[in-house]
Amino acid sequence: MLRHGSRSLFGRASATSMRWRRLFSTDLPVETAEDTKFVESWKKMNPNMDPPKTPSAYMKLRPPTPANIPSKLTVNLVLPYDSVLSSKEVDMVIVPATTGQMGVLPGHVATIAELKPGILSVHEGNDVTKYFLSSGFAFVHANSVADIIAIEATPIDRLDPSLVQKGLADFQQKLNTASTDVEKAEAQIGIDVHSALNAALTG
């Protein structure tokens, strides 16, 4: 039923590294979340009454990893004030992770990636939609759902090239005149963001 290859990999990992046994998505029960120990001891003490539900009965379980890799990736791009993409079925997204551009296809391994300011491109058939993300995180789940969260995400055509160039020049100058660590960090952040904006506009 579940993908056996990944199960044996996890088995090896859990034997060698963990002091306590960590649950993996491959071995979570899919059907019920009731607390069996509690229910059994209740039935022993009080066989005539139905056992009350415990908080774990109300818990939503992690969605099961499908046996076959789905054909589409479900993407959610959310901002604090808007959900730009909400359960959109796409073929691939490329996210600007701090470790480089990361392509996410359906069936991607579950990943958490911190994002740097850069372009998110959403590929659906022959259409590619690009958004500039200010920074954030991308969570890819084992069931081919990708949640991308950012504070700002704009389509590239809403960016003003002259403001970007001006900003880049300003921050480069600020870096030269910066004295404290915080000022230097802020100037460096300004340079990083504006260089990424520049690359997005010209690339």
């Binding site: 300011p117 200010s134 700002e152 809403r158 003003d160 403001l163 960090a185 504006h194 904006l197």
Partner: protein, 69 residues
């Protein structure tokens, strides 16, 4: 388990991730074209007041606001 990993430069300078992320977002907002830029600026406005409590009583609050009174 792991020794302290290499930190990003902003954390080494004492900045937290939230501060970094908000700073990046506000820089991006300032580079937007006109109609979008004015909507974005309204998103950045904050209005709150903070008061410290001493001996169970609040002291005078400090009000931080971008909305004109």
């Amino acid at each position: 388990m792991s020794s302290s990993a290499a930190q990003p430069f902003w954390r080494a300078a004492g900045m937290t991730y939230i501060t970094y992320s908000n700073l990046c977002a506000s820089l991006v907002r300032q580079c937007l074209k006109e109609p979008y830029r004015s909507e974005a600026v309204s998103r950045e406005k904050v209005h709150f007041n903070v008061s410290k409590w001493v001996d169970g009583k609040p002291e005078k609050p400090t009000i931080r606001t971008d909305t004109p009174e």
